[in-house]
Symmetry: C2
Subunit: 134 residues, 2 copies
């Protein structure tokens, strides 16, 4: 797995498709993930440390994990299929590891909230890098 950082969030208010760019830490490879405007806004606010007056859905999500004895270890973008990225939340609970399927946008929102690492499977990064060169 390759550790990535959330490099850029590009929001075009009049488009249905927003982009987040993940960039390899200590490297140059980067790639975009298309996400919705709501998800982009959530991530953007997390990155800016904007505190909404009330806990939002991703705050609740993290609170639920912690209330049930879990701790988010990291998130990983682990698959690319038909131009769609898939991700997982990796949660430790009572010494065992629980992996939960997630859209990348939710996973990255959770990572931005909990400050855990974002990883991408090497194979996925290779595929996307190839696609970029095409």
């Amino acid at each position: 797995m390759v550790r990535m950082s959330l490099h850029q969030i590009v929001i075009h208010e009049h488009s249905d498709q927003q982009f987040i760019f993940l960039k390899e830490e200590g490297g140059k490879r980067r790639f975009p993930i298309v996400i919705g405007i709501f998800e982009a806004t959530v991530i953007d606010r997390k990155v800016r440390n904007f505190k909404p007056p009330r806990p939002m859905t991703h705050d609740l999500l993290v609170n639920v994990i912690e209330s049930l004895g879990g701790e988010v270890q990291h998130v990983v973008v682990n698959k690319l299929e038909d131009n769609t990225f898939y991700a997982k939340l990796v949660v430790r609970q009572d010494g065992r590891v629980v992996e939960i399927d997630s859209r990348p946008s939710d996973a990255i929102a959770v990572a931005s909230h909990t400050k855990v690492p974002i990883y991408v499977e090497e194979q996925v990064l290779d595929e996307v890098a190839r696609a970029d060169e095409a």
Copy 2:
């Protein structure tokens, strides 16, 4: 606690404030809760059994609860303070009950997804009923 059903979702696309109405089951009392457009859309889709191509954030939320050994028992709108409603998710895990603070919109989205009962504290319902008569 009084059991309620989700009676109506009112979406005005050009307003920041949307409304959901909860109505007493087997009774006549009802009251509105102001929520955001995103939350209203999520609940509306759940009620219509609309299946998005990918699991959305509230699907992930329910999946997280179940993956960590929890089961949602019910949700309850338990407080009204400064015209703001507060709610809780009530989750059973390993024989214990875990209560997690939530916005009513998230709680009702979870209830619509898991088909668990929605309750309102009698005191809250009384307050709102009084407010309606004013």
